[in-house]
């Protein structure tokens, strides 16, 4: 899970410094040579943004599947602080 760092602001309310975790599996993990990377949540609005930031701008191959918090989701899904995003090729289990 992402690490939450609570900060007390000058106004006394509690804010958090958050990250989004990006994971890569199988062929993507091998070709990008990334297994897992944290992305600053300020820089991203949706899953596609997470890919762009995490891969430093690599084009997303066709047929890449995405998950948000362990559920299959489309690439335009809006992300939020603390989300775990994963990218992987078509599954081949069973």
């Amino acid at each position: 899970m992402a690490v939450y760092s609570p900060l007390v602001t000058t106004k006394g309310t509690i804010s958090t410094l958050m990250t989004i975790k990006a994971k890569f599996f199988a062929t993507l993990r091998e070709s990008l040579n990334i297994e897992q990377v944290d992305v600053n949540s300020d820089e991203v609005a949706n899953v596609t943004d997470v890919w762009r930031v995490a891969t430093a701008g690599e084009p997303m191959p066709d047929h890449v599947l995405c998950s948000v918090n362990l559920e299959h989701m489309p690439a335009d899904t809006v992300v939020k602080d603390g989300d775990e995003i994963a990218f992987f090729p078509p599954v081949t289990g069973g």
């Binding site: 199988a26 062929t27 998950s67 992987f88 090729p89 599954v91 081949t92 289990g93 069973g94």
Partner: protein
């Protein structure tokens, strides 16, 4: 209902009988089960071993949801999925799905649903090692309904 992920070889019959001992004898009339086993050939090539990668937290969650959907959508009593991960040798079981119900139609339908759902949704990826020690990722599962 139960989901098992095995990093080491497992014996489908043992999983089935352990699960069945938790059910009331005489309460079900039909048990359909399926075992997928590693073959020593694929697409014309000899395959000497296979590595099954997965996304552990998502795998567990997806398989659990697939079982819940099967119990919701079919008239069945219970269902089970077991899946192997890690390095696998030819002849070893990869996957087991099983369903218990009163009547056979629901057992057959649900058992097949479990396999089709996990093959298209559960985050597993197979990498084959061929006899020349080269490796290749399996690209895509084919649909399992003939009609």
């Amino acid at each position: 209902m139960s989901v098992h992920i095995f990093p080491d070889p497992f014996v489908p019959a043992d999983i089935l009988s352990a699960h069945e001992s938790s059910l009331t004898a005489g309460s079900f009339g039909a048990t359909a089960s399926f075992v997928g086993t590693m073959r020593d050939f694929n697409e014309g090539d000899d395959v000497t071993s296979m590595t099954l990668e997965h996304y552990p937290e998502m795998t567990a969650k997806q398989l659990q949801q697939i079982i819940e959907r099967s119990i919701q959508d079919f008239d069945i009593q219970d269902a089970l999925i077991a899946h192997r991960v890690g390095q696998i040798n030819p002849g070893e079981p990869i996957v087991l799905t099983a369903v218990w119900s009163a009547h056979r139609a629901a057992a057959f339908d649900a058992c097949r649903f479990l396999m089709e759902a996990l093959k298209s949704e559960a985050p597993f990826w197979k990498k084959e090692t061929l006899s020349d020690n080269s490796q290749r990722w399996v690209e895509k599962n084919t649909p399992g309904y003939s009609d």
